[in-house]
Symmetry: C2
Subunit: 686 residues, 2 copies
């Protein structure tokens, strides 16, 4: 059994990856087979699809130019295997986003249609639309990493070359996902804020009113930001965690023990079974949406935990040596459980801070009674409070895993945590689909009861979205730590000398400070970008309403395309600078002669530390503000139209770039920084 798993573990996992892919295709067909509703609905959905496609096409062109330059640079400066890995990672990351978005823009109208029949059918269509992205991300991640590794190993005949080329793949996927997260995040929030500022506040229109020229852009935004951006992001975290674990195994396992190298693939493969069962569970049971979705996660996690017990023991009958420490199967299985436990902890904690059922959101809602400012203060302080428990959990996980199995233990915990992303993303993508479904229902004049059904699902989706962000940033923090460990090990291996990053070394300290400022500067640019892009939308909407007053009476049709076009261009232009910021800083610090490796080491950790806090604080504040508004809209503190509601809208609007642009874009950013550092070692340090 041990022989089989070690020799055929990767092949078996890849087969499971193919099964996952088949599952995704099956779900796509299932979603497509649902009724797409009447002509008006098809027309609106078509406009959203066209806008989303147009954006992604332009994004591909913009990003391709930068990627091509980097491909050539990596190929010349390092090697062409790594450069090819870079392209593969970039392509897969884009593909994950693209396909996820294409199914979302089909699922949305079908969810609206299903909602007019019965609520459970609507839940199923929306969830399955999201599950396509979930399965796709894990299957594509596993298959791309596994196949590329095997192919390079075959061609080059060198394990070292094969492993190194995976770093290229990691960089490609990370870099693209920074662009996707930023570009999509700027798009969605600029359109949202812009549409609200003129529509809701100046003209007193409802959400998704077809008379608002920016309303199609707003709905496109949900898809390119929350679907495509998020899919690219989690694809990246998944692929990078897997690669990080393989890299750590290669660098620290004695005699490069094959079982250690294969084990991360096996974890990912086994978890696909868990994801499929979880998805099936949600489709079969007939309970409340929240229970069904959380149940799906539980089924998925339990399945993985149960299956990995025998598999781990079979793969490691004897202890293996990692950096001089003997590690047996109980230790490794403990790390698996820590990773799965971390997932549940992240979900639970974020839910506490962002759900309307608990004190933090209620306190924010209450603070709306005394106005805009007290609401903002309460929301920011909630974000700060929300960092404490996740960081303590991360600290505990690091300690537990490290004492069990060293750096490899942490890598295994991250891989286990990420292996659940199949089901987790399904929950996340569910949100924007139902959001869009509601928009289509309103715009196509369906019965208000339909909107009520989608609104209920949307509220569930909102909490799920907040919760998955907590999961994403916690896993990103841990994954980045593994990458930092890989940087140090790679540095040692490459330069054949020991490296100590002592806090008393001023270079390390300076690196920490410079690294620490990266997330601050990055999020500042991201927020500015939303502000300036939203300003462009506001000006265009005002212009249209002024030029064609018939728009407001419903006599003239607004020029939706123009708004879509403006926000597309603005988002793509504004994403460049912040996305290149990490590259500039890392290269700038690394090329300092002689001291480069030390400054860089400090920088990597500094970025992880402040990035983790900013990421958690910003996504939590944003989620909490959003739900505080919802809580008031449910009739508390005066309900809709009250002064408290106006204050809560301000909080929600501040929260938009917080939770959907700047905060989540920190995840891929802290990994780009670390992967780039690994990639630069053989180029810059000799």
């Amino acid at each position: 059994m041990q022989r089989f798993l070690t020799d055929y573990g990767i092949a078996t996992s890849l087969t499971l990856g193919a099964v996952g892919l088949a599952g995704a295709i099956y779900l796509i067909r299932m979603v497509n087979s649902c009724s797409a509703g009447n002509d008006r609905m098809a027309e609106i959905a078509g406009a959203i699809q066209a806008g989303a496609k147009a954006y992604l096409h332009r994004q591909v062109i913009t990003v391709s130019v930068i990627a091509l330059m980097l491909f050539v640079a990596i190929g010349y400066l390092r090697d062409w295997y790594t450069a090819m890995g870079f392209v593969l990672g970039a392509v897969c990351s884009l593909a994950a986003g693209y396909i996820g978005m294409m199914i979302a823009v089909r699922a949305n109208v079908r969810t609206a249609q299903a909602a007019s029949v019965n609520p459970h059918a609507a839940l199923r269509v929306a969830f399955n639309g999201g599950a396509v992205t979930g399965l796709l991300v894990v299957a594509l991640g596993l298959l791309s990493v596994g196949i590329f590794y095997r192919v390079v190993l075959e061609y080059s005949g060198s394990g070292k070359i094969a492993i190194n080329s995976l770093v290229g793949l990691a960089l490609g996927s990370s870099l693209i996902s920074v662009f996707a997260r930023l570009g999509g995040g700027i798009y969605t929030k600029a359109a949202d804020v812009g549409a609200d500022l003129v529509g809701k506040i100046e003209q007193n229109l409802q959400e998704d009113d077809p008379r608002n020229p920016a309303t199609i852009a707003d709905n496109v935004g949900d898809n390119v930001g929350d679907c495509a951006g998020m899919a690219a992001d989690v694809f990246e975290t998944y692929a990078v965690s897997l690669i990080g674990a393989v890299l750590v195994a290669f660098l620290t396992a004695a005699d490069q023990a094959k079982a250690a190298l294969v084990y991360p693939f096996v974890i990912c493969g086994v978890s696909i079974i868990g994801a499929l069962l979880g998805i099936a569970f949600v489709n079969i049971v007939r309970v409340s949406p929240t229970v069904a979705l959380i149940g799906g996660v539980a089924v998925s996690g339990l399945t993985s935990a149960l299956l990995l017990h025998p598999v781990t023991h079979a793969m490691f009958p004897q202890a293996i040596e990692f950096s001089g420490k003997l590690v047996g199967s109980p230790a490794l299985y403990t790390c698996v459980l820590v990773g799965i436990g971390m997932t549940f902890a992240a979900v639970f904690i974020t839910n506490y801070y962002t759900s309307t059922a608990h004190r933090p959101v209620r306190r924010i809602a209450e603070s709306c009674n005394t106005g805009h400012a007290t609401n903002i203060i309460a929301g920011i302080s909630t974000g700060h409070h929300a960092t404490v428990m996740p960081v303590l959990c991360i600290a505990a996980s690091i300690w537990l895993c490290y004492s069990q199995a060293g750096l490899y233990g942490i890598a295994i915990a991250v891989t286990s945590m990420l292996s659940l992303s199949g089901i987790i993303i399904s929950l996340d993508a569910f949100g924007p689909i139902t959001d869009n479904a509601g928009g289509i229902a309103v715009m196509s004049g369906l019965d208000p009861s339909v909107r009520k059904v989608t609104d209920e699902l949307d509220a569930v989706g909102n909490t799920m979205k907040a919760v998955t962000k907590g999961y994403a940033i916690a896993s990103a923090g841990l994954a980045a730590m593994v990458l930092f460990g890989s940087y140090v090990e790679e540095l040692k291996a490459h330069l054949h000398q020991n490296f100590v990053f002592d806090l008393m070394d001023p270079r390390v300290m300076i690196g920490l400070f410079i690294g620490g400022l990266l997330p601050f500067s990055f999020t500042a640019y991201a927020m500015d970008a939303v502000g300036s892009a939203a300003g462009a939308v506001v000006r265009e909407v005002r212009r249209q309403i002024e030029a064609f007053p018939g728009i407001l009476t419903g006599k003239d049709t607004p020029d939706y395309r123009q708004c879509v076009d403006i926000v597309t261009k603005a988002a793509l232009r504004q994403m460049i600078l912040p996305a290149l910021l990490p590259l500039i800083f890392v290269v700038g610090v690394a090329i300092i002669p002689e001291h480069g490796p030390y400054f860089l080491g400090g920088l990597l950790v500094g970025t992880i530390v402040t990035g983790l806090f900013l990421g958690i604080a910003m996504t939590s504040s944003g989620g909490a503000w959003d739900n505080a508004k919802k809580f008031i809209e449910d009739g508390n503190h005066g309900g809709k139209g009250s002064p408290a509601h106006a204050a809560s809208v301000t909080g929600d609007t501040v929260g938009d770039p917080y939770k959907d642009t700047a905060g989540p874009a920190v995840n891929p950013m802290i990994k780009v920084v670390n992967i780039l550092a690994i990639l630069l070692i053989p180029i810059l340090f000799r």
Copy 2:
């Protein structure tokens, strides 16, 4: 000359300290000799004085209980010299705050009176009132540290005991200043926000309208927060920097070279001459307020720089060995210049981000056109942007000083930077005095032209306040780094073994994360405290207006005392938890058996890193929002009463706890953490 300076350097410095004290007393007499205006003015000023005294008395009682417990604990667990140092530090920190505040509440009414004569006289009274605090802080700091050191040295006959007992003094002053900053900061902002929420927004009263029951509390707040809190804070930074430098000299200089130990005292002594000349400059020249004040800083800095050149060369004719590295007088003088240069850099950068003359504030003001939310986003992003340049300057300073003279070089730079605090605090304390003067002018019904004069001075004071905050947090960051270095050196000396805080050590990494969360949690509690205390004020003001409707017509006099009382109690109750947070975390981490020193080392650095960023970001955002409001009130974007103005008021209100409670309280907090760690070494690690 070298013999003289080494043998009598401390005595000479103490004499200069006494001269500074004499200067402060002279200024007090000068301020007191000015006319205090008519009876109505005296009555109002009396109410403010009474409120401020009542608050400080209660604060002393509350803090004394905690200080007494710590005194006993330190005495029993460590030694009684250190415990006495702790008490001395606590008493001096309180005294600096108390005296500074007592002169401020006398200078305010005299400034109002002087403003009715001529603007320059008003500038002089207000500035001299502030200069008392400035001179007092540096003189008291130098004298307390110097005399206590000499006395313990005399009694114990051991240099080691004398140096160690200084750590107690540092902890006493730091801990008190956390309480003073928090308590005062909560007080001032709760009263301010509370008074505004009901007065300005609900009842449409102007600032300082005597019909507002919270208006006296608001004016008391300026004194207990911006005067007493700030004075305690800077006293602490000053004393701690001096102690840190002495400690580093003792721990790293070969044979504990006496010159190295005396040099920090000499820097402080010489700078008192600079401070006196700077204060004289502001009193003598007749130019615009901004030019006069900035000129005073320039005179002060140049004097110190010029005088320290010959002094440094005379003290170090030969190079001295620090941790095995030979350091000569040119290197040390370079560090002095770096410290003075850092002061100007901090002033310049903060001014750029918070003054109405530059792009960031103008951009925030512009964002008010699109509402509350865009204003908040622009302000937060400005705060994030504002971290970049100061941190890069700090990084450059660390590199330069370390390469010149190791850890001692950084300590010398910090001491030089802090030696300018005599003149810098004069600028800072100037703000609340003019603010109060304006309040008294309005409440006592002086001619509106008086308010106009004080308003102009207040605007200058606002920028100065923002600028000195940038200086305070930058110096706090550097001082904390020196303390961390002392922690490590002390650890090595105490346990007779080498300690390496490697980033690859999971304990260090976990420490970094836990340390990083401290400033986030601390600021969250501080913001919550303002919110809840302000809520209490709002309820009381509403109650009074409802019970006595005559208050609004001017028929009934509001019960000011009741508001003062409520906010006093609330501030004192709310400051306890956040102030104890650092103690709890440090002790909690340090007592982990075996691994304590490593976790703790990581924690110290983690706190410095995120604390520095949060401190800069929060104070900058707050200052920028405040001035964006002022910019709009000057007639831009529609001026007072426009929707843009309403949005800017929201930003200003959010900025209040940002810049006056949470942000500045981070400074003493990051030092408490580091000093406590040093103090715990002989108690916990054996």
